[in-house]
């Protein structure tokens, strides 16, 4: 924060320079990837298959691995971009903190400032939007408090991922813009290209209707490969009440395949980028096709629930007039998804679960709309102020625990929101059928 002597702990210029360095390194890797792609796809090289097909196949496989494999250039480029973003967020937090502290120093003495910061820290989990950003992270960095409290300030940055929203909002180019730019950069290749068609297979079984939000998260968890499901699985539950009226629950998993090369599983990085850029994907088509396959009729209420990418897809479909013309989306539940930018109509009831220490829902650089029909539950999960494990803070198990708290909460907003869920939930006379649908992206 402050240069030179007296407990300097962070020099924002250094952080910004390092962030630029990482950004440049990421861009350099993308350029390297494009040149590798140029060699791999060179028609003259491919023509040598007539002379030595086996060795060419081996070379092409090596080139593809180096380009887009798990230890490939593209994945490293993406990770460097993320590291750069983290540094820029940290630099932004420190700089804003410093400016806030400067302003405060004009009016109050150090003791009062520290007390104010302490209060802000205590209130932050409850009312982050109401707390001046500078107050959140700034004050412990200054003067005689610049020793151990610097860890507190950095910890705050890590613990309150909401700061990332401000950072993402402040840096040139938001994530949606970046997604569009990525699609433009890769437009000459097959990477991240989604032609949007899917093939479905399905099996049906009798089931019990869900009892609450936690059960919806359990349904999503059951779609995961590590839970034994086939890759590309979503669940459609038909809940029928005693009078025969039907309501539909669709449970959508998060990203299952991180390769930039679109493969058979539609819940992949290609769908992430498409959704962030506001473009349709094979995963969107999978949800619509699954509802069609299940026999959902226009006018019957539909609840879309998703974790991470699944929540983005749910929000995107609820915001899509063409989808709503076919299906009456009344409710959306998202967990750990950056959904603030999706124009979901006001008559759709939205519940967003966001862990304050999960950076993923903060990636859109904005807070969710504050309106009667959109409730956002935001709380930390890790219990650790720093270096929280993203597998814990973003994982569906943590979100299921948060959903259980929502189910048990007496908060009037949550109680009112849950009351609207009745057509989708277990009650006397209600029955349910689960359709487990596996979607495969059809290759062109």
């Amino acid at each position: 924060m402050r240069g030179g002597v007296g407990g300097v702990a962070a020099r924002t210029e250094d952080l910004e320079r390092a962030a630029r360095l990482l950004g440049d390194a990421g861009a350099g890797l993308v350029a390297t990837a494009m040149r590798l792609l140029g060699v791999a796809a060179d028609p003259s090289l491919l023509a040598t298959a007539t002379l030595a097909p086996v060795s060419l196949a081996a070379a092409e496989a090596r080139l593809a691995g180096a380009l887009a494999g798990s230890a490939g250039v593209l994945r490293s480029a993406a990770r460097l971009e993320l590291l750069s973003l983290r540094l820029r967020a940290a630099a932004f937090g420190y700089r804003t903190a410093d400016e806030g502290a400067e302003r405060l120093a004009h009016d109050v003495d150090t003791g009062t400032v520290v007390l104010g910061a302490g209060l802000a820290v205590g209130l932050a989990p409850l009312a982050v939007p109401a707390v001046p950003l500078g107050l959140l992270a700034a004050v412990p960095l200054r003067g005689p408090h610049a020793g151990p409290p610097i860890g507190m300030a950095a910890g705050l940055l890590a613990a309150h991922a909401g700061l990332l929203e401000h950072a993402v909002d402040a840096v040139p180019g938001t994530v949606p813009q970046a997604a569009t730019a990525i699609l433009a950069v890769t437009s000459g290749s097959s990477l991240l290209r989604d032609h949007g068609t899917v093939a479905l297979s399905a099996s049906a079984q009798r089931a019990m209707p869900p009892t609450g939000v936690a059960d919806l998260l359990s349904g999503i968890a059951a779609c995961r490969v590590d839970a034994g499901a086939q890759p590309g699985t979503i669940r459609v539950e038909a809940v029928r009440d005693a009078d025969g009226r039907r309501a539909w629950v669709v449970e959508i998993p998060g990203t299952q395949d991180w390769s930039p090369a679109p493969g058979g599983n539609p819940f992949d990085l290609t769908a992430d980028v498409a959704s962030m850029a506001g473009r349709p994907s094979a995963a969107d088509h999978a949800v619509a096709a699954a509802l069609d396959l299940a026999g959902a009729r226009r006018g019957e209420p539909v609840l879309l629930a998703g974790h991470s990418l699944g929540g983005m897809l749910a929000a995107g479909l609820a915001a899509d007039p063409a989808f709503r013309a076919r299906f009456r989306v009344t409710h959306v539940v998202t967990a750990g998804s950056p959904v603030a930018g999706y124009p979901i109509p006001a008559d759709v009831q939205v519940l967003s679960l966001e862990h304050a220490d999960d950076v993923v829902p903060a990636l859109d650089g904005a807070r969710n709309p504050d309106r009667a029909g959109w409730v956002t539950v935001r709380q930390p999960v890790s219990g650790s102020p720093i270096a929280a494990d993203p597998l814990v803070t973003h994982g569906i198990e943590g979100y299921r625990a948060t959903a259980a708290l929502v189910d048990a909460s007496a908060d009037p907003s949550l109680a009112a929101w849950r009351a609207g869920l009745v057509p989708f939930l277990r009650r006397p006379g209600a029955t349910a059928v689960d359709l487990v649908v596996t979607a495969r992206r059809a290759q062109p």
Partner: protein
């Protein structure tokens, strides 16, 4: 196209592997920023892991170059049908 041409492409790819290693060196320097805190320590640990991954990536690109060189050798090695191969070679652009 003959083995020499493929070997040139292999050399190009080997150069890309060097570029990746050079990028890894630059990435390591990002850890020099003056920033002390536990979050900074976590960031540097992540950075070091990324540098190690980049060296692995460089190795993958090296392997691709080696595979191209092997392909060049295969093109030049007379197989069971050298006459056919020779005819094809002459027919290629």
């Amino acid at each position: 196209m003959d083995g020499t041409w493929v070997r040139q492409r292999a050399g190009e790819v080997a150069g890309l592997a060097e570029e990746v290693r050079s990028i890894a060196d630059r990435v390591r320097r990002a850890g020099d920023a003056e920033w002390r805190s536990t979050a900074a320590a976590a960031f540097r640990a992540g950075l070091e892991a990324e540098v190690r991954r980049l060296l692995v990536v460089g190795g993958e690109v090296d392997e691709a170059a080696a595979a191209l060189r092997a392909h060049a050798d295969a093109i030049e090695t007379p197989g069971p049908g050298p006459l056919v191969a020779g005819l094809l070679r002459g027919a290629l652009p």
